[in-house]
Subunit: 457 residues, 2 copies
């Protein structure tokens, strides 16, 4: 089933059914990733309802797939027993993610509620720093000793409980002090003579990661060599676990998102756009904008400096770089954010109303903030108070206009089948430059015509 | 072995050895990805030398790992027989990549030189459009019929030539008209009773791709569901091949690079920065810049329009948006390009001289182009010819300055252990705004003081 609105419709349909059993049946046929995707787009009350309809195994998977802000909010509404049960059935790295969502308070309570062995594994992995490979590895890999025969390994594999290993495509050969000697594939195991021993079959040239390596670096290494898992070693070469390809992909996607947003002047994690609250969107943008705003006063000072000599500069024009900069920066932030969310399919065309509503709300708040700061700064600069008012009024108008252009253009491009990234930040900035100036000059001219503002001739 | 300079040193060492055999031995211990990485950083003559020292299998892999521009150039220096041999030993999707590097001319000649069956497979896949899943899939997957027993499958797997399948982690169950019925893992095969048949063991809820789907969409779907391969079907549900995770990762990396660059106002493919020639860097940037340049004249027109009424505007200031825009856009392009290349480890700190040299060359050319266009446009606008000269001179200076800032800041950040993406495009733009204005005003003031330029008071 293709992701998207269809799943959302199915989920809504399930919610409207009278029979709980039918609703459960309908939902249990869906993939956790798709249910998570639909939940994000539901009303707050409906979210918990859907979660309660799911089997516990599916519910746990759905929680993992949700954006951090969403799963945090939902977990707070679930009883400890349920969350502890989730914790225990999840793969270890996902369980750690869940713990991060829960926060320190409930953390120890929950660890006491799950089997001791699992609690100990979680605590072992939590000792590694956030963002390290150690934090994300799983200890459940398939190992062999050097002298073990293929026949004996096949017996091990057939006899072991299915959940014991996250993946068995590679068999790791360890000596009796757990140093990694080599690796071979399950396929090689099957093709080798049943009496062959591991050290004859293995390849001893292995790409590895250290537990303290940054997960991003390890993930790039995995991609570079086209591998699906990396063995993770401690500083003495003893094997601790494996870092799997699906976790590596998640790490890379989030790192790339973070980089893309940072390049566009947006701070914060690589969390899904659609899962962020409006105040998070505001926070992620306002710091950079205020910083740039202050820096842009430097440009104004350059103009003041040169304007005092041979070059006569109308005081109105001293605010040009500030206004152009604010519009361009907001436009770049919005278009970068939305283009990335569209590329990752976090936002779809059908979400446009929701996106526009949020963007206009956030832009209004940003515009008011910048307008207030701009007004004060102009006053402190000794600018004519009436001109300061014009600057303070122009800023929110330009910012809201820039945000509108920055969100409409990529969404419109996508609708017309054009790659939204073509509506690049420089393009938006340039477009907003000209139109933003019209707003400012028109405001000023109207003020002059009304006799509110008098400009030196 | 960690990637990077060490490999480059080993390769240089191999080139300097008197004994060819020793050199070959040294090189054959390295991974193709690392050799490719080192080759990019060698002098032109040395590149072919290294390739000639490699075994044919390694050489073919190295060619695949090289950036397109590099492998194209190298293949032109290799005899047809060698390239044809490469073509035949490579996995089919890599062989297609190689063909794209070769170009139409040699294409048919080469196809006649390899075994007919392989040539036919290549031609089959080439029928799918570029960027589609069909073009990137491999036909070498492991299949079963619904009634086949585990025992019989194990026999198939043990008996088949090792190169017949790209991966055997999943077994696909097809009916006699090749419709996909379900899939199960090799691990499940091993754990099931030897007498169990495929249709009992398989899971019939399979995430698939259509051959004509965009590879990017299929790759995102694979990542979304945490899968390592997708079966590829034709429009009638018949299975054609599999799209594997390593190809999906490459597709996503290149698409993300393309998006990041596009957002920064750079056109073109997701090719590795370090493999691009200087004229390619120029081409990728100049079109957008010229487009934005023309658009920025619109901003100037807005200023002219309002400047004629109550607001007196010094003609010098009409070029402000143009100059600020050019500096900001070039800075954004350079910092986006370099930050992405650093993130992907295509550029390392040790490459800084090479990077700076290229960036300054490209910036000079861009500056001259924009300076010339800006000068002409100012003249045509009826601007004082002497002021037009000042604008034409300021542009290259500002562009070169912006490129310097845009490349030094991310490299410097990385050296200091800060994420280079923090040196965001808006930050560079704002910084360049103020300093760029100093350049322009200082030029103008000097011209006024020398009596070259007279400004209206």
């Amino acid at each position: 089933m293709p992701p998207g609105t269809e799943v959302k419709d199915l989920v809504s349909q399930a919610l409207s059914l009278d029979s709980q059993d039918e609703a459960k049946e309908l939902l249990d046929d869906l993939r956790p990733e798709d249910i998570a995707d639909a939940i994000v787009r539901l009303e707050e009350e409906e979210k918990v309802q859907v979660l309660n309809l799911l089997s516990e195994a599916t519910g746990a998977q759905v929680l993992i797939e949700l954006p951090t802000a969403e799963s945090k909010a939902l977990i707070e509404q679930l009883p400890d027993a349920v969350v502890a049960w989730y914790l225990d059935i999840l793969p270890m790295d996902d369980a750690l993610d869940l713990l991060e969502d829960i926060g320190e308070e409930r953390y120890n309570d929950l660890l006491n509620m799950i089997p001791e062995e699992d609690a100990r594994e979680i605590q072992r992995l939590l000792r590694y720093s956030e963002g390290s490979v150690g934090r994300m590895m799983t200890e459940r890999f398939f190992e062999s000793f050097p002298e073990q025969t293929m026949d004996s390994l096949l017996g091990d594999l057939r006899g072991a409980p299915i959940e014991k290993y996250e993946t068995v495509n590679d068999i790791y050969v360890l000596d009796n002090r757990r140093h990694l000697l080599g690796v071979f594939s399950l396929r090689k195991l099957l093709r080798a003579a049943p009496s062959a021993v591991a050290e004859e079959v293995m390849n001893d040239d292995v790409v590895v990661a250290q537990a303290n390596d940054k997960a991003e670096d390890a993930a790039r290494r995995m991609a570079r060599y086209g591998l699906y898992a990396l063995p993770v070693l401690d500083e003495r070469g003893r094997m601790l676990g494996i870092f799997t390809g699906d976790d590596a992909q998640t790490v890379l996607r989030e790192e790339d998102t973070r980089d893309v947003l940072a390049l566009g002047g947006v701070t914060g994690s690589g969390d899904s756009y659609i899962g962020l609250r409006w105040y998070q969107l505001y926070q992620r943008r306002i710091y950079w904008l205020l910083g740039l705003f202050v820096a842009e006063f430097g440009t104004g000072m350059v103009m003041r400096h040169y304007g005092q000599g041979e070059l006569q500069i109308n005081p109105l024009l001293l605010f040009l770089p500030l206004l152009i900069g604010a519009g361009g920066n907001v436009g770049a932030q919005v278009t970068t954010t939305i283009t990335r969310a569209l590329a990752l399919d976090e936002v779809r065309l059908s979400d446009w109303r929701r996106v526009m509503g949020r963007e206009l709300l956030v832009a209004s708040l940003i515009g008011l903030t910048l307008g207030f700061v701009g007004y004060l700064r102009a006053l402190l600069w000794g600018t004519d108070p009436r001109l300061s008012v014009i600057v303070g009024l122009a800023l929110p108008l330009i910012v809201i206009w820039a945000a509108t252009v920055g969100s409409v253009l990529p969404i419109g491009a996508k609708r017309m089948g054009i790659d939204p990234a073509v509506m690049s930040a420089p393009f938006i900035s340039t477009f907003v430059d000209a139109t933003g100036l019209v707003i400012y000059f028109q405001l000023a001219r109207t003020a002059v015509e009304m006799g509110f503002l008098v400009l030196p001739r």
